[in-house]
Structures are given as structure tokens and as C-alpha cells.
């Protein structure tokens, strides 16, 4: 069982107590940079960028709506990859990471839907429409809820994590299917509202583009910081009987009977 193709530090990091310490050290820095980036991005988006010639100031919702939408998809992909590792290789850390992605992913999806709705009302005249993108995002929210619900329905956390990971993988296959089927369905039933023109990224003004990208960076960093924190708590919960957790919680010195598992 030689695993020489994986670098040594990956093995080191996969051990829960090591990851716990590493994550604890990294997390405050990630959050600090995330907050600074957010301030810069919001300053650029809310104050520096000019009003849009068509949408006035309402377009400024873009600076939180689009990064949140990107995060809702990125987090799901992360969850699916971690879930795959958990299912195939039974890595405990991967199980925890996969499950701890879900709440933050659901949060960003929820933000995407609500901010999108608040943006759509003045622009399209409606709070909601069943087009491919909105429907796919709503289905994504249900997928997150399904994963969270299934995971929490199990007594055995490890088994629940594996079951919920399989559900996440099934869901990822379904997401493009939903998107294209609704697109087909929507074109079949003609006569939707005026479609918000979504110009190719290249045609967005630079003064609007850079705050958007900075906000994207900020949300990514925030997600990593949040994930590290949630994973630490998840590891404490999963490993609560182990020596390293007892030493951590009770302030007792860890026993020198060998490396903590």
C-alpha cells in the first residue's frame, strides 16, 4: 500500500489534530484578508463605480449577487470533490470537510436568490421567474438542504457523511440536467418577461469589473476561513473520545504513548 505519489505534507495534514492546529493558525489571517478585500470591493462598488446608464444605482446589487452565485456553485463543487474522496478513500477529514461545506453553500445560495429577487423586481418588474438560471439555483438550494437533512438524520456521523456525500454526487449530475431542461421548457412556453441582457464579461466597464472581482476574492477567502472553523468544530465532535481532543479541552497534557490518531 505505497502512497508515494502523495506528498508527505498531505498525509500530515490529513491527520485530525494536525489539521486542527493548522486550520486554527490560518483562519484568522484568511478572515482578515477577506474583510479587507470586502471593504475595498464594496468601496469600489458602492462609491467609486458610476451608476449604470440603463439601471441606475440598482445594478450595485451585482457586487454581492454575482460573487454569491459563484460561491454557491464553487462550494457545491468543493463539497462534491470532498465527498468523493470520503466515499472512495474513507478519509475522515474529507467526510468532515464535505459536510461542513453544506451550510455555507446553502447560505450563499440563499443570498443569491434573495438578492437576485431584489434586483429583479425593479429591473424586470417581477420578484421571480421560472427561467433556467433561477430554477437551477433554487434546485441547488434544495440539494443543499437535502444533503444537510440526510446527514443530520443519521446517528452514526461517519455513515451519514458518506450517505450525504453520495447524495451530493448524484445532485451534481442533476444540476446541468435541470438547467438545460428548464431552458427547453421555457423556450417551449414562449412569452416570458423581458430578458435581462447579460453582456459578456468583457463588455462590463472596468470600474465595475474590478470591485466585482475583489468581492469574488473576498467571498472565496471568507468561505475558506468559515470552512476551516467549521471543520475544526466538526473534528472535535467526531474525535471527541480521542486523546488529542481530551488534552485540548481538559487542559491535560497529551499522553506520550505515540502519535495521536
Amino acid at each position: 500500500m505505497s502512497r508515494s505519489y502523495l506528498p508527505h505534507w498531505v498525509h500530515w495534514l490529513g491527520s485530525p489534530p494536525n489539521f486542527y492546529r493548522f486550520a486554527g493558525a490560518l483562519r484568522p489571517w484568511l478572515m482578515a484578508v477577506a474583510l479587507v478585500s470586502a471593504v475595498i470591493g464594496l468601496y469600489g462598488g458602492l462609491l467609486l463605480a458610476p451608476p449604470d446608464y440603463q439601471q441606475g444605482d440598482a445594478y450595485r446589487i451585482i457586487f454581492i449577487h454575482v460573487p454569491s452565485a459563484w460561491m454557491s456553485l464553487f462550494i457545491y463543487a468543493t463539497m462534491a470533490v470532498a465527498g468523493l474522496v470520503a466515499l472512495v478513500w474513507r478519509v475522515k477529514l474529507a467526510e468532515v470537510i464535505a459536510m461542513e461545506c453544506a451550510p455555507t453553500g446553502a447560505a450563499f445560495t440563499f443570498i443569491t436568490l434573495v438578492t437576485g429577487s431584489l434586483w429583479g423586481k425593479p429591473m424586470w418588474g417581477t420578484w421571480w421567474t421560472w427561467d433556467a438560471r433561477l430554477t437551477s439555483e433554487l434546485v441547488l438550494l434544495f440539494l443543499y438542504f437535502g444533503v444537510i437533512g440526510l446527514y443530520n438524520a443519521f446517528e452514526d456521523r461517519r455513515r451519514g457523511a458518506r450517505a450525504a456525500s453520495l447524495l451530493a454526487l448524484v445532485g451534481i449530475v442533476n444540476l446541468p440536467i435541470v438547467h438545460y431542461s428548464v431552458q427547453w421548457w421555457n423556450t417551449l412556453h414562449q412569452g416570458t418577461t423581458v430578458n435581462f441582457l447579460d453582456p459578456a464579461r468583457s463588455s462590463i466597464a472596468p470600474s465595475m469589473l474590478w470591485p466585482l472581482l475583489v468581492m469574488a476574492l473576498a467571498t472565496h477567502l471568507y468561505f475558506f476561513a468559515s470552512l476551516l472553523g467549521r471543520t475544526r468544530t466538526g473534528l472535535l465532535s467526531l474525535e471527541s473520545g480521542k486523546q488529542w481532543v481530551r488534552a485540548l479541552v481538559g487542559g491535560q497534557p497529551a499522553q506520550t504513548t505515540g502519535a495521536p490518531t
Binding site: D57, A58, I61, H65, A107, T233
Partner: protein, 64 residues
């Protein structure tokens, strides 16, 4: 300033959107801390019980 807050008349859409962003992410950041606090409290209690059990009957078999 007031002009900026008015957001060209779209204030009732823009500011609630930003509020949702901040509030939901604040929940996402702080909620795990509560869970963690409860967890450490439980673990400390369990450790204390085991400690008293050990010191009272040091020869008894202790299961983790």
C-alpha cells in the same frame, strides 16, 4: 450623502440586499461558535465525570 443612500431611488431594493448579505454571512460565521461552545462544555463535563470516577475507584475498568 443622502443622495448616495437613496441609491437613485432604488434604496429599498439595494440596501435590503446588502443587509441580507451581511446578516446571513454573520450567521454563518457565528453559529458554529455556539455549537463549539456547547461541545466543549459537554466534553469538559464528561472528562470531569471520568476523572472523579477514576480517582474514586482507580482499579475499576474505565471505558472511553
Amino acid at each position: 450623502m443622502a443622495h448616495w443612500l437613496a441609491m437613485g431611488g432604488y434604496a429599498i431594493y439595494v440596501w435590503p440586499a446588502y443587509a441580507v448579505f451581511v446578516i446571513v454571512l454573520a450567521w454563518d460565521w457565528f453559529a458554529p461558535a455556539l455549537r463549539r461552545r456547547r461541545l466543549t462544555r459537554e466534553l469538559r463535563g464528561r472528562l470531569a465525570r471520568e476523572h472523579t470516577r477514576n480517582t474514586r475507584a482507580p482499579h475499576a475498568e474505565v471505558s472511553t
